[in-house]
Amino acid sequence: MMKTKGWILAGSLFLAGHRLLAATPVPNELLSAQEANQLVARVANAARTVTFQGVYVHQHGDNMEAFRVIHEATSGNDIERRESLDGPPREFYRQGNQISLYLPGGQVFPIDRRQSSKLFPRQFPDDPEHVLVNYQVRYVGQERVAGQDTNIYDFEPKDKLRYPHRYWVHADTGLMLKSVMLGVRHEPVEVFAFSQVQIGGSIDKRQLKPVYPVKPAPVDDAPGTLTLPKDPAWDIHNLPGGFRLLKVSQRAMTGKPRPVVHHLYGDGLVTISVFIEPFDPAAPLGIAQQAGITVFARQAGPYLLTVLGEVPAETVQAFSYAYTPKGEKSGTQ
């Protein structure tokens, strides 16, 4: 009798020890702050340092597109090439910080370096805190994706300003193999998923050669900031929490006679754009949602204010009402 008890004790100690050694998280439990931090850092790092190639599917709303991606990260090399397999041919080529593009019509526009590093599977920012201040991480369980064993993690928003995300992370390397953003009704609104992937191994040099005549794109390297945009025409206060201002620019836009002021914000996983231009009575006002993106347009004094992003309606409205035009002077921007 004593012997059996002893064995049970020994067995449970062994199991407990085993669990500690393997550091297997418990399904459906929240990760501690430290574990979450390690996870985000590991996944962000894997996308930079792991060599991989494969085909992934990008699904948004009722559209689906396949892309081929090849990333070589061997000694001293950091080369990435992606091409679209569906629809019009597009190609993205990156060597270190140099980015070249091929787009239909041959146009090229400046690329924000910090943001362009966010193409799947590189969605996590380098600074884990940027994400973890807004989301808590729950380990869900394990699943196979593209023939690989993955751990599933839910990123649950800490407030109602964001949507939940779910990530499938390669168990051995930490490479993200699938990501899903869920909408208001918990329906998937944006999915990236490898359908075939080779992780590690060597890459045929010919695979890294661009297929289309890519052109170098100017790279914009401005760092993000927590301070508010300083615009003489606007009072900006009470912006929703957890968002950083990433960029302020003036840009020409299709169908607009004058450049439009653009403020770009991010919370580590999703981005929000605020567009400011002179009010146009013909412009559609109100709220619209499409494939996970919410658009809110309203008149603010002499301006048309359009806010959009991969966030719920409350968030774009809160952003919009955080902007108040100073006085009624009808200055141009």
Partner: protein, 170 residues
């Protein structure tokens, strides 16, 4: 009008035209005959089984004569005991349901309030319009700019637009 009817059958009619065409269809028996005939032709070509011409009428008649069964007679006596046993439970359940609804309403109101600007209340009453991908191009320019700057330049949903609009010089 016939082109419109044909477009409606093919699913190619602009949604804005629906009401007009349906009203015409309602008013004009000749159009209704066309409608029947074209569907018949379509069914034959797609090898769907052909129903008798007065199928709808027969179906409606039979439906009207069907008895309305509310509670199967045999089950009702056994149910009575169950109902008595379950009544307190269902009362508890409805209280629980009410409190969930109440909590959600309260919760919604609560999370709404820190954001609420005076204008917000008015705006919240606008229904959120779900735009269909194909038809709503009004926000496309903004989407293009958003995706370019948020770092996904090869995203297909913008390319479609860019390919048929000329890009202004920068």
């Amino acid at each position: 009008m016939k082109e419109h009817l044909s477009a409606l059958i093919d699913g190619e009619l602009e949604p804005a035209e629906f009401d007009h065409v349906l009203a015409q269809l309602h008013a004009d028996p000749a159009l209704r005959d066309d409608w029947q005939d074209w569907h018949l032709v379509g069914d034959v070509m797609q090898q769907h089984p052909i129903l008798s011409p007065d199928f709808m009428k027969n179906f409606s008649d039979r439906l009207a004569t069907e008895p309305v069964v509310l509670v199967p007679a045999a089950a009702s006596r056994r149910r009575r005991f169950m109902r008595r046993a379950l009544a307190p439970l269902s009362a508890a359940a409805s209280v629980a349901f009410l409190s969930v609804v109440g909590w959600q309403a309260f919760h919604g109101a609560y999370t709404g309030s820190p954001l609420a600007a005076p204008q917000m209340a008015a705006v919240k009453q606008q229904a959120v319009r779900v735009a269909s991908t194909g038809t709503d191009n009004r926000f496309r320019a903004y989407l293009v700019a958003h995706h370019e700057d948020s770092g996904n330049p090869i995203d297909g949903r913008d390319i479609v637009y860019a390919s048929f609009e000329t890009q202004p010089t920068k």
